[in-house]
C-alpha cells in the first residue's frame, strides 16, 4: 500500500499532496516539512530509499523518492510494495505528466494541480497501484479532458 504521495520543490514548497490515510492539515504540513528535511539533505548519488520518517507509519514504511530538476517525487509505502517497482512507477508517472503537459516543468504542476491530481488518480487509487501502462493512463486522461471540454462548450451558450 502507498500511504502518501508528496511532490515538493527544492525549497520544500508542496506542489501536490495526496494522503491515503487521514492526517489533519497541520500534521500534513509537518509531514511535508519533515520529509523535505530528510530528503533534501541527501546527495543525488545516494540511494533512493529512506527509512525513519517518524511521523508517517512505523518501521514497516519507507520513503522512496526521485529527484527531477526542481522537484522531488516522494512515495511513502509499506513493505508490500517492491522498492524498485515503486521507483519505476514514479518514472511512469513523471513520463505521463510529460506527455500530458508536453514537456512538463514545475510551472505546470503549480498552475494545474487539479490536472496532476486527475492524472495521478489514473495511476494510483486509494493507495493501490491502478495502472502501470503509460499509454492506457494517457488515453483515459485524454478522454476525460475531452469530456470536460465538450461540457464547457455546451454550457457556454446557455450560461
Amino acid at each position: 500500500m502507498i500511504k502518501a504521495i508528496l511532490i515538493f520543490n527544492n525549497h520544500g514548497k508542496p506542489r501536490l499532496i495526496r494522503f491515503y490515510q487521514y492526517f489533519a492539515e497541520d500534521l500534513q504540513q509537518q509531514i511535508i516539512r519533515e520529509t523535505f528535511h530528510l530528503v533534501s539533505k541527501r546527495d543525488d548519488n545516494v540511494c533512493n530509499f529512506l527509512e525513519g520518517g517518524s511521523l508517517i507509519g512505523g518501521s514497516d514504511y519507507k520513503l522512496i523518492y526521485r529527484h527531477y530538476a526542481t522537484l522531488y517525487f516522494v512515495f511513502c509505502v509499506d513493505s508490500s510494495e517492491s522498492e524498485l517497482g515503486i521507483l519505476d512507477l514514479i518514472q511512469v508517472f513523471v513520463e505521463t505528466l510529460d506527455k500530458c503537459f508536453e514537456n512538463v516543468c514545475e510551472l505546470d504542476l503549480i498552475f494545474h494541480m487539479d490536472k496532476v491530481h486527475y492524472i495521478l488518480q489514473e495511476v494510483v487509487m486509494g493507495g493501490m497501484v491502478l495502472e502501470t501502462n503509460m499509454n492506457e493512463i494517457v488515453a483515459q486522461v485524454e478522454v476525460q479532458t475531452r469530456m470536460e471540454k465538450s461540457e464547457v462548450k455546451l454550457s457556454r451558450p446557455s450560461g
Binding site: M1, P14, L16, I17, R18, Y20, Y22, A24, E25, D26, Q28, Q29, R42, D43, N45, V46, C47, N48, F49, L50, E51, G52, S80, S82, E83, L84, G85, L87, D88, I110, F111, H112, M113, D114, H117, Y118, Q121, M125, G126, G127, M128, V129, L130, E131, T132, N133, E136, Q140, V143, Q144, M147, E148, E151, V152, S155, G159
Partner: protein
C-alpha cells in the same frame, strides 16, 4: 441585501479561477497569509451562490488551499453539493476535494450515500470512475456497508476501466466492513482471470494485500497464482505474485520446490531489475524454512550463473555494487537471510561494518540492523567497540541516537544473552552518557537500573560507577543541550541509594547528592535524589554508630538538616513533600542522637526489604479471579426515568457514577480461606506459574574459579575518577586474556584426559577457534527473571495490535457462504412501514425480501457455477441510511390500482415466460418505496423456493430544484432494471388546481411529455420537468403515469406513480446572520408553533445536519445543545427554528409568518426523525 451585491459581482469573482489564485499567491509573497484570507472570504461568498459553476470553481480553489495547509472542512457541505452536480467537470472537482479533505468523522459523509450510489450506476463510465476514486479515499464503515453490493456489481461491469477500479476499491471495503469479504471473494477470485490485464492486476493487488496479513487463508489460491505467474507478462503483476509466494512458502514447504523452475526462468529471462530482485528475495525467503531447504545445493549452482550472482554468498557483490539502490537492497535481503542462516551472514561482518562508514544514512541504518542479528558472545565486545567509534565520529544527532539505541538493543537482546561481562556493559553505558544532545538518556537510565537490579553480582561495581557519575554530575547538567542525558542521574541516584551498603565512600556520595546544584535538575530526578539521600543516610548511620564515634553520626545528621531545606522550598510538589518528611525525620533522629540513643537499626528498617523487578506485562497478566465478571454492574445504574429530567444537570448526574459506588459484598472468613487454599493448590499444579523460589533471588552462587578471573582485580579507583575516559576497551583486552587463560586451562584438562584415555578411540583435537558454548561468562551471572503475577498464563497474543484492521479480515474463505452472510442490498425501510396489509398478503415473498439488482451477465455466470454458494442475495438487507435530498415518488399503494397493476403484470409475465422458458416468474408487490417505483417481475433461481432477485425497470429519483416564486423543477432518474430495451417513454401528471406540469406551448392540458431518450437495459438517465405551483403552504401529491414500449414486445406498458411535494421542498437553504435573525424574531410578525421529538438517539450535530439537509435549513448559531436555524420558502416566507436537545428529547420552537406552512414543515421534521 448581501446576496444582491454578491450577485452583481458574480462575473468579477468568477473570473478568479485556480490559476488566478495561484498567481495571486505568488505575487503576494510578503503578505501571503493576508492575501489568502481575503481569498477565503471571496470563496465563502462564491459558495453561497446558486450557480454550480461558481461553487465548483470555489471548491477547486479550496482544494489548492488545503494543500497549503488550510483547513477547509467548513466547506464540506458545499463539496457535497458540487459532487452531486450532473456535469462531469464539476463532479470531478467535488470528488477530488472530498478525497482530499473528507475522513471518517466528517459529518456530511453520511449524506453522500445516495449520491455516490447514483454516480456508481451512472451510464457514463467516467462518472462511475470518479465516484470510485473518490470513495476509495473516504470510505467509512457505513458507506462500505451500504455500497458494498453496488461496488460488487460493478466488478462485472462491461468496461474494464470500471472493473479494475471496482476490484481495487473492494480492498478498502473489506477493511471497513469485513463481513463483505466472504460474499465478495468468489467474484474477486474470478477477476484474477479477467481478460483485461488491468483488471487482473487489480485483483492480484487486492488479494496480495489481503494475503500479506493472513496468508494461511489464501493458500488454496496458490495453483491459480502459479498459473498466472507462468502466463503473465506484466512485471507489476509478477512482482506482486512473487511477493505473495514469499509469504505463502513458509506455510507450505512443498510450494517452494514447485517455484524453483518458474523463478529460475524469470531470473534468466527478465531484464527488469525490480523483478529480478523480488525473485531472488523470494528464493531467499523460501530457503530452508522449517528445516526443509527448498533450494538445497541447487541454489549455489543456480546462482553462480546469474547475471548478478545473487546467491546467498554472492549478495556481497550486490552490496559492493556501485549502485547505491542495489547496495541498499542487498543489505535488506541479507537481513532476511539472517533470520534463517545467521552464520552465513556473520562471515560478511567486515563488509557490513564497512557499510557503517557509507556516506548514505539509509545504508548505514540497514547495516546497523544487520549487526543486531550478527552478534554472538564471541564478537559482541568487538562489534560494540566499533560502534562506539562510530558514535564518536557520527555527525547528526538522529544517526547517533540510532547508534545508541542499537548498541543498547544489541547488548540487551534476549535477556542479555550475549553479554559475558557485565562490568564491561556498565562501563559502556557510562561511556554513552558522554554523548552530547542525545534524547535517549532515559533508555540508558533504564538499562542501568535493569542491570543493577537483576544482576546481583554487578551491584558493587555498578554502585561505584554510579557514585562517580553523581560526583561528576556537573558534567551532565552544565550544558543546556545535555538535558536528555541527565535522566541517567535518576538511575545513578537510585542505585546508589538502594544498594548503598556497597558504597566505598558513602559520605562523599551523600554530599554529592545534596549539592545545591541538584536543585536545577528536573523535579522527578530531584525527588529520587532526596529519597535516596535518606537511604544513604540510614546506611551511614549504621556504619558510624558501629564505629563508636558518635560525633560522625551527628555530623551526618547535621549535613542533612543543613541541606534539605533547599529541597523543601522546591516548586515541585513531589520533591517538597519528600524533603519535608525526611527533614522532620532527621530532626527527630538528631534529637535522639543527642540523648545517645542508638537509632540506626530503626532508621534502616524504614528501607528494609528488596525491590524485585516486575515484568512490564505483569499487570496485564493478572488473571481474573473465578466468579468475577468485570463487565457486570456492581450496582445497577440508576434507571432512565430518574435522569430523564428536563434539567440539563440531570444528564450529568447520569454520567457520574459517584452515586453507585461499589459496596463490597460481605464474604465470610471461611469462604475466603477456602478460596485461598484452592488458589494455592492451583498455583502448585500450574507449571506456568513462576514460583517465588528463594534460590533464584537471594542465593547468589559463587562460581567455582571466580577468584581466578582477573577482572575482579581491576583497580577501580583510577579510571573511575574521570568518567569521560573510555574504559570499556580494557575489558575487551581483559576478556581476551581471560579466554586465553581458560583455553590454556582447558587444554591442560584435556591433556590430562587424553593421558588417562591413552589409546582410546575418541581422539579429540582441541580446535583453534572456540565454539559459542566454550565461552564462559566472566561472572557467573544470575539474571533475575522479572516477576509475573500468580497464575499468569504465557500467551503471545498480547503483542498484537488489537486495532489492526486486518485482524478482522482473518476469515476462512473456503467455507461455503451462509445465508446470513449475504451483502446488504439497499432496502427501503419507509416503504415497509407504509406497505398495506393487502399488499403483504398479495406478495409471495415476505416483506423483508428486498429487490436485488443484478445484471444478467452475473446471473449467467452463476448458472455456470454449480456450487450454488456464490449466490449473493439478501434476505434482511440492512436499511440504508436515510438520505433524502430528493422528493420521492411513492409507488401506488391503493388496492384498486393494485388490481390494475396485477393485470398488467400478468401480461408481462406471459411475455417473459415465452422468452425465458427456464425461468419462473411471479409478481412481487411493489417492493420499492421512498425512492423507487419498482414494478417488475421477480425471478427465482430454480432450486430455491423463494424469489431472490427482483428486477424493476424504472427507478425514479426526484430532485427538487427550486427557482422563482412559483416554479419547481423535478428531475427524474429513469433506470431500466429489466433485460429489455425501453423506448418512447412518456411522462404525464394529472394536474391539480394548485400545481401544474409545464407543457410546451400548443399541447393540451392532459398531454404527456415525451422523455428525450431511450433506455438500454441496466442504464439510467435523468430528465427534468417543471411544475408551476400556486400555493406552497400545503404538501401535495400528484398522480402520474409513465408509458413506454418494451422494444421486443412493442406493447405499451404503463407505470403509475405519485409525486410527493413536501413543504420542506419549497424551502431554500438561505444563510442568515445572527443579528438579522434576532431582528426577525423581534419584529413580531411571526406566528409561533412548537414540536417535541422523543427518543432521538443521535449526536446533536447529526441532528442539525439532518434538519439542514432534509429540510433545507441553515444553522444561524449554535450554543452547546441549542441551535437556531433559518430557512426561507420560495415565496419568501421566513421560517425560524430554535432546536434544543436534552437527553433523547428534542424540542423545536418554530416561528413563521405562515402558520400552515410552519405546521406542515414541523410535521415533516417529525416524520424524518420518526424514521430513524
Amino acid at each position: 441585501m448581501a446576496l444582491k451585491i454578491v450577485k452583481g459581482s458574480i462575473d468579477r469573482m468568477f473570473d478568479k479561477n485556480l490559476q488566478d489564485l495561484v498567481r495571486g499567491i505568488r505575487n503576494h509573497k510578503e503578505d501571503e497569509a493576508k492575501y489568502i484570507s481575503t481569498c477565503i472570504d471571496e470563496i465563502k461568498q462564491e459558495l453561497k451562490q446558486d450557480n454550480i459553476a461558481v461553487k465548483a470553481n470555489a471548491v477547486c480553489k479550496l482544494t489548492y488551499l488545503q494543500m497549503l495547509g488550510y483547513d477547509v472542512s467548513w466547506a464540506a457541505f458545499n463539496i457535497v453539493e458540487v459532487m452531486s452536480s450532473s456535469k462531469f467537470t464539476y463532479k470531478r472537482i467535488g470528488y477530488l476535494a472530498a478525497s482530499q479533505c473528507f475522513h471518517e468523522s466528517t459529518d456530511v459523509i453520511m449524506l453522500t450515500t445516495n449520491q455516490i450510489r447514483k454516480d456508481l450506476s451512472s451510464p457514463n463510465q467516467y462518472d462511475t470512475g470518479v465516484a470510485l476514486t473518490g470513495l476509495s479515499c473516504f470510505v467509512t464503515p457505513d458507506l462500505a456497508r451500504d455500497l458494498a453490493n453496488d461496488i460488487m456489481t460493478l466488478m462485472s461491469h462491461t468496461k474494464p476501466y470500471i472493473r479494475k477500479k471496482a476490484v481495487l476499491i473492494m480492498y478498502k471495503v473489506f477493511l471497513k466492513y469485513p463481513e463483505s469479504l466472504r460474499p465478495a471473494f468468489p467474484r474477486l477470485k474470478e477477476k484474477l482471470e479477467d481478460p483485461d490485464p488491468g483488471v487482473q492486476s487489480a485483483a492480484v493487488n487486492v488479494i496480495c494485500e489481503l494475503a500479506r496479513r493472513n496468508p494461511k487463508n489464501y493458500l488454496s489460491l496458490a495453483p491459480l497464482f502459479f498459473k498466472l505467474m507462468t502466463s503473465s507478462t506484466n512485471n507489476w503483476v509478477l512482482i506482486k505474485i512473487i511477493k505473495l509466494f514469499g509469504a505463502l512458502t513458509p506455510l507450505e514447504p512443498r510450494l517452494g520446490k514447485k517455484l524453483i523452475e518458474p523463478l529460475t526462468n524469470l531470473i534468466h529471462s527478465t531484464s527488469a531489475m525490480s523483478l529480478l530482485y523480488e525473485c531472488v528475495n523470494t528464493v531467499i525467503a523460501g530457503h530452508d524454512v522449517n528445516g526443509s531447504p527448498f533450494l538445497p545445493p541447487f541454489s549455489l549452482a543456480l546462482f553462480l550463473f546469474l547475471r548478478f550472482q545473487l546467491c546467498v554468498q554472492k549478495l556481497r557483490i550486490l552490496i559492493e555494487d556501485s549502485d547505491q539502490n542495489l547496495k541498499y537492497l542487498g543489505l535488506l535481503a541479507m537481513s532476511k537471510i539472517l533470520k534463517t542462516h545467521p552464520k552465513s551472514v556473520q562471515s560478511h561482518k567486515d563488509l557490513i561494518l564497512q557499510c557503517l562508514d557509507d556516506k548514505d544514512e539509509s545504508i548505514r541504518l540497514r547495516a546497523l540492523d544487520l549487526l543486531y542479528g550478527m552478534v554472538s558472545k564471541k564478537n559482541l565486545m568487538e562489534i560494540v567497540k566499533k560502534l562506539m567509534l562510530h558514535v564518536d565520529k557520527a555527525e547528526g544527532t538522529t544517526y547517533r541516537d540510532e547508534l545508541l539505541t542499537k548498541i543498547i538493543d544489541i547488548c540487551s537482546q534476549s535477556n542479555y544473552q550475549y553479554i559475558t561481562n557485565f562490568e564491561w556493559y556498565i562501563s559502556i553505558l557510562v561511556e554513552l552518557t558522554r554523548l552530547e544532545g542525545t534524547r535517549h538518556g532515559h533508555l540508558i537510565a533504564s538499562q542501568m537500573l535493569d542491570v543493577a537490579i537483576r544482576v546481583k553480582a554487578i551491584r558493587v561495581f555498578a554502585v561505584a560507577q554510579m557514585a562517580t557519575l553523581l560526583d561528576n554530575a556537573h558534567l551532565m547538567t552544565g550544558n543546556v543541550q545535555r538535558k536528555g542525558i541527565c535522566e541517567v542521574l535518576y538511575a545513578a541516584a537510585w542505585i546508589c541509594g538502594e544498594f548503598s551498603e556497597h558504597l566505598e565512600n558513602p559520605m562523599q556520595t551523600l554530599e554529592a547528592m545534596l549539592r545545591p546544584k541538584v536543585a536545577t535538575l528536573p523535579g522527578h530526578i530531584q525527588a529520587v535524589y532526596v529519597q535516596n539521600a535518606a537511604k544513604l543516610f540510614a546506611t551511614l548511620l549504621k556504619n558510624q554508630e558501629g564505629n563508636t564515634d558518635r560525633t560522625a553520626a551527628q555530623e551526618t545528621s547535621q549535613l542533612m538538616i543543613d541541606r534539605l531545606p533547599l529541597f523543601v522550598q522546591s516548586a515541585n510538589l513531589e520533591v517538597q513533600e519528600r524533603a519535608s518528611c525526611i527533614l522532620q525525620l532527621v530532626k527527630y533522629i538528631q534529637k535522639l542522637q543527642q540523648k545517645d540513643v542508638e537509632v540506626a537499626e530503626e532508621v534502616i528498617a524504614l528501607f528494609a526489604g528488596e525491590l524485585n523487578p516486575v515484568a512490564p506485562k505483569a499487570q496485564k497478566k493478572v488473571p481474573v479471579p473465578e466468579g468475577l465478571d468485570l463487565d457486570a454492574w456492581i450496582n445497577e445504574p440508576p434507571s432512565e426515568s430518574e435522569s430523564e429530567d428536563e434539567q440539563p444537570k440531570a444528564i450529568f448526574a447520569k454520567e457520574e457514577p459517584k452515586h453507585s459506588r461499589a459496596r463490597h459484598t460481605e464474604v465470610d472468613e471461611k469462604e475466603l480461606a477456602k478460596r485461598r487454599e484452592a488458589r494455592k493448590q492451583e498455583q502448585a499444579n500450574n507449571p506456568f506459574y513462576i514460583k517465588a523460589s528463594p534460590s533464584s533471588q537471594k542465593v547468589y552462587q559463587e562460581a567455582p574459579g571466580v577468584e581466578h578471573i582477573p577482572v575482579v582485580q581491576i583497580d577501580l579507583s583510577v579510571p573511575l575518577k574521570v568518567p569521560g575516559l573510555p574504559m570499556s576497551d580494557q575489558y575487551v583486552k581483559l576478556e581476551e586474556e581471560r579466554r586465553q587463560k581458560e583455553r590454556v586451562e582447558k587444554k591442560k584438562k584435556e591433556k590430562k584426559k587424553r593421558k588417562e584415555k591413552r589409546g582410546g578411540r575418541g581422539k579429540k583435537h582441541d580446535s583453534g577457534p572456540e565454539s559459542e558454548e566454550d565461552i564462559t561468562p566472566a561472572h557467573m551471572v544470575d539474571i533475575v527473571t522479572e516477576e509475573m503475577p500468580e497464575n499468569a498464563l504465557p500467551s503471545d497474543d498480547d503483542d498484537k495490535d488489537p486495532n489492526d484492521p486486518h485482524k478482522a479480515l482473518d476469515i476462512d474463505l473456503d467455507k461455503p457462504l451462509a445465508d446470513s452472510e449475504k451483502l446488504p442490498v439497499r432496502s427501503h425501510r419507509a416503504a415497509e412501514a407504509l406497505k398495506s396489509p393487502a399488499e403483504d398478503g398479495d406478495a409471495e415473498s415476505p416483506a423483508s425480501q428486498e429487490p436485488k439488482k443484478k445484471s444478467s451477465k452475473e446471473k449467467r455466470e452463476k448458472k455456470k457455477d454449480k456450487d450454488g454458494d456464490r449466490k449473493v442475495s439478501v434476505k434482511n438487507g440492512n436499511p440504508t441510511r436515510e438520505t433524502a435530498l430528493w422528493m420521492y415518488i411513492y409507488g401506488d399503494k391503493k388496492s384498486s390500482k393494485h388490481k390494475k397493476k396485477k393485470q398488467k403484470r400478468e401480461k408481462e409475465e406471459k411475455e417473459k415466460k415465452k422468452k425465458k422458458k427456464h425461468h419462473h416468474h411471479h409478481h412481487h408487490s411493489d417492493g420499492g418505496g421512498e425512492e423507487s417505483v419498482q414494478n417488475g417481475t421477480v425471478e427465482e433461481e430454480e432450486p430455491l423456493p423463494v424469489s431472490v432477485c427482483h428486477q424493476s425497470f424504472t427507478e425514479i429519483d426526484i430532485q427538487g430544484n427550486l427557482q422563482d416564486g412559483s416554479q419547481v423543477v423535478v428531475s427524474v432518474i429513469f433506470e431500466n432494471k429489466c433485460d429489455n430495451f425501453l423506448k418512447t417513454m412518456e411522462f404525464n401528471v394529472l394536474d391539480s388546481l394548485n400545481s401544474k406540469l409545464q407543457r410546451p406551448e400548443g399541447s393540451g392540458p392532459h398531454d404527456g411529455l415525451s422523455v428525450p431518450f431511450q433506455l438500454p437495459p441496466g442504464v439510467s438517465n435523468e430528465a427534468r420537468f417543471v411544475f408551476t405551483m400556486q400555493s406552497i403552504v400545503m404538501p401535495q401529491k400528484l398522480k402520474g403515469t409513465l408509458t413506454f414500449i418494451i422494444k421486443d414486445s412493442s406493447t405499451h406498458e404503463k407505470l403509475d406513480f405519485k409525486l410527493h411535494f413536501t413543504c420542506s421542498s419549497y424551502l431554500i437553504t438561505t444563510p442568515c446572520y445572527s443579528d438579522a435573525f434576532a431582528k426577525l424574531l423581534e419584529s413580531g410578525d411571526l406566528k409561533c408553533s412548537s414540536v417535541r421529538l422523543e427518543g432521538v438517539n443521535m449526536p446533536f450535530h447529526h441532528l442539525l445536519a439532518r434538519i439542514c439537509f432534509h429540510h433545507h435549513f441553515s444553522v444561524v448559531e449554535r450554543i452547546d445543545s441549542c441551535a437556531s436555524m433559518y430557512s426561507r420558502s420560495i415565496q419568501g416566507h421566513h421560517v425560524c427554528l430554535l432546536v434544543k436537545t436534552s437527553g433523547q428529547t428534542v424540542s423545536i420552537d418554530a416561528k413563521c409568518d405562515e402558520p400552515t406552512l410552519l405546521g406542515n414543515v414541523l410535521d415533516e421534521i417529525k416524520q424524518t426523525f420518526s424514521q430513524c
